[in-house]
């Protein structure tokens, strides 16, 4: 299972890539695999202010729907418009072109609660 070491992970299988105050959010390889072929991503509106753990958007496949929760509190500054035409990006490149939205992180201390890659791999092994 692929889990890049430069990302932080939640127990709901979101990842966040932190660059300064900005964080890019997506779902992990483990999550996309469990979900199956993604058919639709219901992205949040730019400007939405999210509390940590609040439902930011939903990802749908043929047989499942899954809520995506904010790994940290913050304001949505950008969403991945390419997903409207090609939701399969989430499956093909979960850590790349399949990202979901960008967040201006309100409180960096939220990140302290997240998992490092090694810890997350262990977590997934238990869930599987």
């Amino acid at each position: 299972m692929n889990a890049p070491t430069d990302l932080l992970y939640t127990d709901q299988h979101e990842w966040i890539r932190v660059q300064g105050r900005m964080g890019t959010v997506g779902i992990s390889d483990f999550a996309q695999n469990a979900l199956g072929d993604v058919t639709f991503v219901d992205l949040p509106a730019v400007g939405t202010v999210l509390a940590r753990g609040a439902e930011a958007c939903a990802i749908e496949s043929c047989k499942a729907a899954s809520g995506i929760y904010a790994p940290a509190a913050g304001k949505v500054t950008e969403v991945n418009a390419a997903l409207a035409d090609d939701p399969g990006l989430v499956n093909r490149e979960p850590y790349g072109k399949g990202w979901l939205f960008q967040l201006e992180i309100a409180d960096p201390s939220d990140l302290d609660r997240l998992m490092q890659a090694a810890q997350y791999r262990e977590f997934c092994a238990k869930e599987a």
């Binding site: 058919t39 639709f40 219901d42 749908e60 496949s61 043929c62 047989k63 499942a64 729907a65």
Partner: protein, 445 residues
């Protein structure tokens, strides 16, 4: 025993083979929780049951010459409609969970969805809802999801039975439900009042065409007013009337619902009926109910599947767009067959015929001394309100004795309309019957 194949001998063999006794089968149910013999009569033969039911059917006055409508209409049903709907490959199947052996149901629903879109001038229709009333409720819930707002305005010329249903359903949900009174001088929604009520908190405005008084309207102005404050326009309509009338889509409606019973189903004492719903494609993922989509199989052949199921209860559970599971599949198939048999020209001719006969009835009944039209300046499709010189209920009672269900007394649902009689005319009523009604009415006053 009826409808059970295995003989006692086979039962004994089966039990022996699996090493259980008849008692073992119900062992999971503690003995103290079992019931004794039920207090029910013994079974009847098919012949006796049919005789009994025929006797009960005979104690219903389905033979009256009926001018009852109120949203539920007695239209002619071609024999081919019933022949198609009674094919047991359709009616003994269930929800098409296995598409490879359900292409019949699935393609029929796809065609039904297409027909509803074509009829209403909308972009997407679902596979059916229970009836015209629950369809409005579902449309309201959809509008709440689309707008994120909690306030709904319902015009009082929407079928009062549906308004009662909406009130029941919204009672536990913290929705602000506003019912705007009809402008009594014209029998139409009160535009000024609605303009006052529409605001930035409003999710939807609900109207009906033709409305419960039979009056035809054009809601383009209300559509503009609703959209100006970010609300949706919900229009409930009568599908046969759409053979002639301006479509909800052309008026700018966002969600269209209606009762499809008039498309090949009997009035059947209240059901089974057919709720239909159509909307704009941009809102499809907020829609309730089943949706069938066209796709391809592994060899590129066209095929149909249930789709966008992530909206539905079996996946989303408490977050689903609706709790609906079983809908009105066979009724949707019936409506489709009926629309196909009517065809493009036939539906328009049917609608015109209803309008002509209703117009004749209106003119003829106005010859009866003391009878007037309640809203003389309005346009009607096949239903209108007569103002009688005395209480409508008393007149209706006398006409029942003469073999007529002359119409519906508005006083049952509206104050100050004691003398108002709602009269509906379908293609099944003849000139002779209308003339006889006029004579009977004259004699009854």
């Amino acid at each position: 025993m009826p409808f059970i194949a295995n003989t006692d001998e086979q039962r004994r063999q089966m039990l022996a083979e699996i090493g259980l006794t008849a008692e073992d089968l119900f062992a999971p149910i503690p003995a103290e929780l079992r019931c004794g013999e039920l207090n029910l009569p013994p079974g009847m033969s098919e012949q006796k049951a049919r005789e009994h039911m025929a006797r009960l059917a005979g104690r219903n006055a389905s033979h009256l010459v009926s001018f009852l409508g109120g949203g539920f209409y007695d239209h002619f049903i071609p024999a081919a409609v019933e022949a198609i709907a009674s094919r047991s490959e359709f009616y003994t199947a269930y929800t098409p969970y296995q598409p490879e052996i359900s292409q019949g149901t699935l393609q029929a629903i796809y065609e039904y969805q297409s027909a509803v879109c074509r009829l209403t001038d909308m972009e997407v229709a679902n596979a059916s809802l229970y009836d015209g009333g629950t369809a409005i409720y579902e449309a309201i819930m959809m509008a709440l999801r689309v707008t994120g707002r909690q306030r709904v305005i319902v015009d009082e010329s929407v079928n009062p039975i549906y308004r009662k249903m909406i009130r029941s359903y919204t009672r536990n949900l913290g929705i602000e439900l506003v019912e705007t009174p009809v402008r009594l001088s014209v029998g139409k929604p009160d535009r000024e009042r609605i303009a006052d009520e529409l605001d930035e908190r409003t999710a939807a405005l609900v109207v009906q065409n033709p409305n419960f008084f039979g009056v035809i309207d054009d809601f383009t102005d209300l559509s503009d007013a609703a959209h100006a404050c970010g609300a949706l326009l919900l229009v409930s309509c009568y599908p046969v009337a759409l053979g002639l009338l301006k479509t909800p889509g052309a008026m700018g409606a966002d969600i269209v619902t209606g009762e499809g019973q008039s498309l090949g189903m009997g009035v059947s004492f209240g059901g089974p009926y057919l709720g239909f719903m159509a909307a704009r494609m941009e809102h499809v993922r907020k829609m309730p109910g089943r949706l069938v989509g066209r796709t391809a199989d592994n060899q590129g052949r066209q095929g149909f599947v249930l789709t966008l199921q992530a909206r539905e209860q079996h996946i989303r559970r408490e977050k689903a767009t609706s709790n609906i599971c079983t809908n009105e599949g066979l009724c949707a198939l019936t409506a489709l067959a009926h629309l196909c048999l009517l065809g493009k020209q036939g539906l328009r001719e049917l609608a015109q015929c209803c309008a002509d006969k209703a117009y004749y009835a209106q003119q003829r009944l106005l010859f009866v001394p003391g009878v007037t039209l309640r809203y003389p300046k309005q346009w009607y499709f096949n239903e209108f309100i007569l103002e009688l010189p005395e209480r409508a209920e008393a007149v209706i009672r006398r006409l029942l004795d003469r073999g007529f269900a002359a119409g519906f007394p508005l006083s049952r649902y509206y104050e100050g309309m004691d003398r108002s009689l709602l009269v509906a005319v379908t293609e099944k009523r003849t000139k002779e019957e209308i003339d006889l009604l006029a004579h009977a009415l004259e004699a009854s006053l």
